[in-house]
Symmetry: C2
Subunit: 133 residues, 2 copies
């Protein structure tokens, strides 16, 4: 089902704090930045091998990223896995009793189809499925 | 400095719980399992694209992984980045004022040279540097 790690999502208080680590210290190239209004985040994508580091900054206190940072401080937020067919992947997860945050895919960063699986189903890991179009 | 994501470390209460997710549900292949006595963990490495998911189970209550699970429950523990020259990478991080957990590299899973950087220097992310030999 899983093809590769699409990206690793990292929650920051401000993108600048994450960029100081991943761009300035570790030398990663910024592939792009954008706002994903629906999820209430500003995103910076950095290239690392065949995957990406996704830095996240909250746009509003009610966003999932704001709540994560409020509770735990900045840090690793989720792992996104690229799948070929996100509908089939969600059906398989549902069959295995997984608790889905998104029953149907929605549009995420870069215009991909995305869906989140609840950490209670995945041994504590917030998992995002991504299908590129 | 960074070449690629070498692996993503995930803390579990028992490897079996992580394998149920990553091997049985997501279909990843187990590349190998081993005990890293020095770090007090049992490790299962699973292949995912050009990187790996590293499942960790504590061998004793005093290990860093046991303390992590005790405090937060199972979940994403660290990101490991492959570098070409770990000594040079540590020197660069030191010059930039990073707080190093390991001042000099030690032997990690698979016989690699590894060194951890403290999350207080890396915006909340426990970062492992890995040099393959």
């Amino acid at each position: 089902m899983a093809i590769k790690v699409d990206h690793i999502g990292i929650a920051t208080r401000e993108l600048a704090e994450g960029l100081a680590v991943w761009r300035d210290t570790l030398g990663l190239k910024v592939a792009g930045t954008e706002e994903v209004e629906e999820q209430g985040v500003r995103v910076a994508m950095l290239e690392l091998g065949d995957t990406h580091i996704e830095l996240l900054e909250s746009l509003r206190p009610s966003s999932a990223v704001a709540k994560f940072v409020e509770k735990r401080g900045p840090g690793i937020h989720h792992i996104a896995i690229e799948v070929e067919d996100i509908q089939a992947a969600l059906a398989e997860l549902r069959n295995r009793g997984a608790r889905l945050v998104d029953e149907t895919p929605r549009i995420g960063a870069g215009g991909c189809l995305v869906a989140f699986v609840h950490p209670s189903s995945t041994n504590g890991v917030l998992l995002e499925l991504v299908q590129h179009r």
